[in-house]
């Protein structure tokens, strides 16, 4: 941690300069040396050199090129130290062939710095790794976040996160998981895994209590940036565009969704003037591009639901029938009890209260949501609208009992008093 009053602007500048190209250089080195370990070590050493040299002279004009060339030299030094490893020697030859032995003028650097981040993203999101590791690895290698930053974002202790990263990197190494874009017959499935990781990162930023450490907005932006990066190399993928739309709509509400105490504000209570039109427009653009490809999927449907909310002037003016229809469609792709509950709530807002109540009660009996506070809030709402005062109160009180935080309990209590 940086101590206050000792913040050196040049240090921050260097840190920013390194981070902005970290993933790109690391991917490039990994791709050519066929070793993430070696690439990380070399880039680390290059960063140390950069700090030393730039602290005196200031940051040079092309920090990315400088870091890349320096890291490449460091990597070659490391390989030379381990010359007995013939395999590495082969890699060195391959690498020199690929980028040219002398390659120090800007044009050559530009050419050799061809973006290989997508290859490394597919490695990090390989299905041989567990999801938590996929997320951590992507943030660590592509986005350049430190172990400490990732640990804090996920409310984990530093050693736990460090171990997770080490194990994942070992698995990549020992299994020889390749640094490549999957072949076409595998691409669809593997891409869907990548989208899942991007969405997890975004949601972590959007919902997690831990994300305040990493400042949740930059983390959310990072997820959107990752999606853009994938889109640049794999354009016209309907679900990728759908995910981009979904993230843009949610990002538009970023400033409206948290109060000054850092507590989340429900959609119903949000000040819609704080929603950022720029991002809503962006979301609509992505969604239109996605839908034009005529390959529907769950991200596009969720984005469409978000689009309806984003373009409604008030909560009451929301087109709930359309939202209900979209949830029905979503259920065809992923039928979780939560999605069914959301569908039932949308139905209740269209005034089909008896029907909605039946759905909610069925979900209550099935089990998974039988202790879920929001189910009982929805149930209480339906009962209230149907004039069943005592039953409604009972359901709301049960929701208050089940809720695990005081702010929420107070909120439901106030709602109950407003109702009756």
């Amino acid at each position: 941690m940086r101590k206050p009053n000792r913040t050196d602007p040049i240090e921050i500048q260097i840190e920013k300069a390194v981070r902005s190209c970290y993933g790109k250089i690391l991917s490039q080195l990994t791709y050519h040396f066929k070793s993430l370990d070696l690439a990380e070590e070399a880039l680390q050493e290059a960063t140390i050199s950069a700090i030393r040299s730039w602290q005196e002279q200031g940051i040079i004009a092309n920090p990315e090129g400088w870091l890349f060339i320096t890291a490449k030299r460091k990597a070659i030094d490391i390989i030379r130290k381990n010359q007995s490893h013939t395999k590495k020697q082969q890699n060195l030859t391959q690498f020199n062939e690929a980028i040219g032995n002398g390659a120090f003028d800007n044009e050559d650097i530009e050419k050799s710095l061809q973006d290989r981040r997508l290859e490394l993203i597919f490695t990090c999101c390989h299905p041989a790794l567990d999801t938590a590791s996929q997320v951590a690895l992507t943030l660590n290698t592509i986005c350049g976040f430190s172990t400490d930053e990732i640990a804090k974002a996920f409310l984990l202790k530093h050693p736990t996160m460090a171990q997770r990263l080490v194990r994942a990197k070992q698995k990549i190494k020992k299994n020889n998981i390749p640094y490549q874009i999957p072949q076409s017959d595998q691409l669809e499935q593997r891409l869907s895994g990548v989208l899942g990781v991007i969405y997890l990162i975004f949601n972590e930023a959007y919902y997690s209590k831990g994300s305040q450490y990493l400042s949740s907005k930059p983390l959310a932006k990072e997820a959107m940036h990752l999606a853009k990066l994938v889109d640049q190399q794999l354009p016209h993928r309907s679900e990728l565009l759908g995910l981009q739309a979904l993230m843009a709509f949610n990002y538009a509400r970023f400033n409206a969704r948290i109060d000054k105490f850092g507590r989340s504000i429900k959609l119903k209570e949000q000040n819609r003037n704080l929603w950022q039109t720029k991002w809503i427009d962006q979301g609509n653009y992505y969604l239109a591009s996605a839908v034009a490809l005529r390959r529907l999927g769950p991200y596009q449907i969720q984005a469409a639901i978000s689009a309806v909310h984003s373009t409604s002037k008030t909560f009451e003016q929301t087109d709930w029938l359309q939202i209900y229809g979209l949830y029905q469609k979503l259920i065809q792709y992923q039928s979780s009890p939560i999605i069914q509950l959301n569908a039932a709530i949308a139905l209740a807002y269209t005034n089909k209260l008896e029907e909605a109540l039946k759905l909610i009660e069925r979900l209550e009996q099935v089990g998974q949501l039988s202790q879920y506070h929001l189910l009982f809030v929805a149930k209480a709402f339906c009962l209230k609208q149907l004039g069943k005062v005592e039953q409604s109160k009972k359901a709301m009180n049960y929701a208050i009992e089940l809720s695990d935080n005081q702010f929420q309990k107070d909120y439901f209590q106030k709602e109950l008093e407003d109702w009756f």
């Binding site: 041989a128 998981i177 390749p178």
Partner: protein
């Protein structure tokens, strides 16, 4: 790099010897073995006798302890293996998906440990 592809399946899920399905399975295995041989990936691979023929040995405090089993008729048991030379994990996984038993059992893919020296 070498990978061991271990074929796990519930023996009860396997077709009875002599049946048409069994003959088809044998043919599919033959075709798969031919494919990996033609690709130069085949190092070894054999089916195993049923798990009922298994014997287990443990050495504790210098004493050798021999027992019958394991018996796990309902669970997926090791029924055979392939040892393949593959470029990377993705290639190994591609081969694993082509093993006929993958359709009703599962294939565990493990890299062979590279010992130093």
């Amino acid at each position: 790099m070498q990978y061991l592809l271990m074929i796990y399946a519930a023996e009860s899920a396997e077709p009875t010897p002599g049946s048409d399905q069994f003959m088809q399975l044998i043919q599919e295995y033959g075709a798969f073995t031919e494919e990996v041989k033609a690709a130069g990936a085949f190092i070894g691979g054999e089916p195993l006798e049923p798990v009922a023929t298994a014997t287990t040995v443990r050495v504790r405090d210098g004493e050798s302890l021999v027992t019958d089993g394991p018996f796990a008729e309902t669970k997926e048991v090791l029924g055979g293996y392939y040892l393949l030379e593959c470029e990377n994990l993705d290639q190994a996984l591609e081969y694993a998906a082509k093993i006929p038993s993958a359709k009703y059992g599962s294939i565990e893919v493990r890299p062979i440990m590279q010992l130093p020296g």
